[in-house]
């Protein structure tokens, strides 16, 4: 646990030592707030549905930007070789990095709390629904992070990590949308609907937290973190 904490602290601090975190926070808040309030007064409803409908698409570009550096930079500068000769297991390193990136994402997402406060001033939103939507957004973001980290662990190039991260996440998101499932054989459609990241976010964006969606997202996070651990362990393969 001490090792995970040490890695977490170092990684989290690193985001703020470089301009990454500040640029990320500023651009994210400006973009999402602008896009949301653009349609908010037209819809004229005191809820955040529109905001959370946007998030999967906004995360698609922002989350790989957080994760692209995580492993690719360590591999390029060769600090990974040093880190993995210290008394720390691969699992601890992966978890430390995952929790640090999640903490940054959580801070960024929670900084948008000015939006529900504004809505509460001018209307009567459902507080429970908004809390549920925020929880769901964090789960979706965590799943995207796990995917991005795994992709970053397979390359030394940050740009490659970013682009492949966007593509993998995009594919996993759209496979459950009607756009894809309607052209699939009827046998495969339910499978893709369940496996895709998008279908599980639909009810969450309405503020409905279903245990099946939570289990799904936790499974995706676990699966990609496992792939990340395997990717680190691949140095030991013959």
């Amino acid at each position: 646990m001490q090792n995970i904490s040490a890695i977490f602290k170092k990684e989290f601090k690193t985001y703020f030592l470089s301009p990454i975190a500040y640029i990320f926070i500023t651009v994210y808040l400006i973009t999402t707030t602008f896009l949301f309030f653009q349609g908010f007064f037209i819809v004229n409803q005191a809820d955040m549905r529109g905001y959370f409908d946007l998030l999967p698409w906004v995360f698609l570009f922002f989350v790989p930007a957080i994760t692209m550096r995580t492993w690719a930079e360590e591999k390029k500068v060769k600090t990974l070789e040093l880190l993995l000769t210290w008394p720390v297991s691969d699992v601890e390193v992966v978890l430390g990095k995952f929790f640090a990136s999640f903490a940054l994402l959580a801070i960024v997402v929670l900084l948008s709390v000015s939006i529900p406060i504004t809505i509460a001033i001018i209307g009567h939103p459902d507080g429970g629904q908004i809390v549920g939507q925020y929880l769901g957004a964090l789960l979706l973001g965590a799943a995207y992070l796990a995917i991005g980290l795994w992709v970053s662990s397979m390359t030394e190039n940050q740009i490659v990590a970013f682009i492949v991260g966007v593509v993998v996440t995009f594919v996993l998101f759209i496979i459950s949308t009607p756009f894809v499932t309607m052209v699939l054989p009827s046998m495969l459609a339910p499978l893709f609907t369940y496996a895709g990241l998008g279908s599980h976010f639909e009810s969450i964006s309405r503020g409905v937290i279903d245990s099946r969606d939570i289990i799904y997202y936790l499974s995706v996070i676990g699966f990609f973190l496992f792939l990340n651990i395997c990717s680190l362990g691949s140095r030991k393969w013959e």
Partner: protein, 315 residues
């Protein structure tokens, strides 16, 4: 686990490592005792870094075993890593961090915390001459200071086995002397493996040398043993005054001389005499005095570690 002073700290047995069809390390067997500074030499691609990576548990061996303090590096990898301090080749560092933050991170991963860690970091600042640099960003330090940060990291937890890959890279002559003394001091109590291409540095620092080539050991021994056992010819340089043709022919006639090259250097003649293993210094001097040549210089050349290295590792 404490070890007696003559006990084996590192035991490498029949170590082999393959990368696909390439055999990087071939049946390497050696041991290093406590209180020994072992020089690990070899040309690029000889398998030095691969061997270090196996010892530090970064990658496993294809076959064979490595034991540190009697513990197998595969079965007890985390325990082994706690006892090793490693400065890899090219000294990778986290450039965004300050020196203090980096050493604190390295200490925390190794289970050190609080005042104990702070005191140890301050000690490392003193030892490695980093006191004025503690709050500087690593990326903005000069190469020499970066190297000192890498050394401080490797020694921070007072490891039983210190593995240094090119530790003097980027250091100025004064720093080299300081770090050499530090390594020697570490070697009195601990065990040090020192990989380098600077052979004079290895000869000055290490008690024992291991030369590997193409993944296998080609020579092992103290620096003196290695140079004494070299089949490379020795020789002399003379600075004399006399007739060039006469110097050439008379010196060539001396028993034991295998070759003579004479060239003019102003009013003097410089003669390079190559000989076999037999010491014929006296015979050369007699030749000079019997012929009445004025002698300004008579200098002996014996096989250097460079000669041994070249002879053993030349393709």
């Amino acid at each position: 686990m404490s070890l007696a002073n003559d006990s084996v700290m590192l035991e490498v047995t029949s170590l082999c490592k393959r990368f696909g069809s390439v055999q990087a390390v071939k049946n390497l067997t050696f041991e290093v005792k406590k209180g020994e500074v072992l020089g690990f030499l070899g040309p690029n691609g000889a398998g030095k870094t691969t061997t270090m990576r196996i010892i530090t548990c970064f990658i496993p061996a294809s076959s064979g075993a490595v034991k540190v303090c009697g513990m197998d590096t595969v079965e007890h990898d985390l325990e082994v890593r706690k006892r090793i301090g490693y400065l890899p080749e090219n000294n990778p560092l986290y450039f965004d961090m300050t020196v203090r933050e980096y050493l604190r991170f390295a200490g925390e991963i190794r289970g050190q915390t609080g005042t104990r860690l702070s005191n140890r970091i301050s000690e490392m600042f003193q030892v490695c001459g980093l006191t004025k640099m503690e709050n500087r960003q690593i990326g903005k330090l000069s190469k020499g200071f970066k190297q000192r940060v890498g050394l401080a990291q490797a020694m921070l937890h007072n490891p039983d086995l210190l593995i240094l890959d090119e530790p003097m890279s980027g250091l100025d002559p004064n720093q080299i002397i300081e770090i050499r003394q530090l390594i020697k001091k570490m070697g009195e109590e601990k065990t040090v493996i020192y990989c380098s291409h600077i052979l004079s540095e290895v000869a000055a620092t290490c008690n024992r040398i291991l030369i590997i080539n193409e993944g296998a050991i080609v020579a092992a021994g103290t620096p003196d043993e290695l140079t004494a056992g070299a089949s490379t010819s020795s020789g002399f340089t003379l600075k004399v005054k006399g007739d060039k043709a006469s110097v050439q022919s008379k010196l060539s006639a001396v028993d034991g001389v295998t070759g003579v090259i004479v060239h003019e250097a102003g009013e003097w003649l410089e003669a390079s005499v190559t000989t076999g293993k037999e010491d014929i210094g006296e015979k050369i001097y007699k030749c000079v005095s019997e012929n009445g040549w004025s002698l300004a210089e008579l200098k002996r050349h014996s096989a250097s570690l460079e000669d041994v290295f070249t002879q053993l590792t030349r393709g």
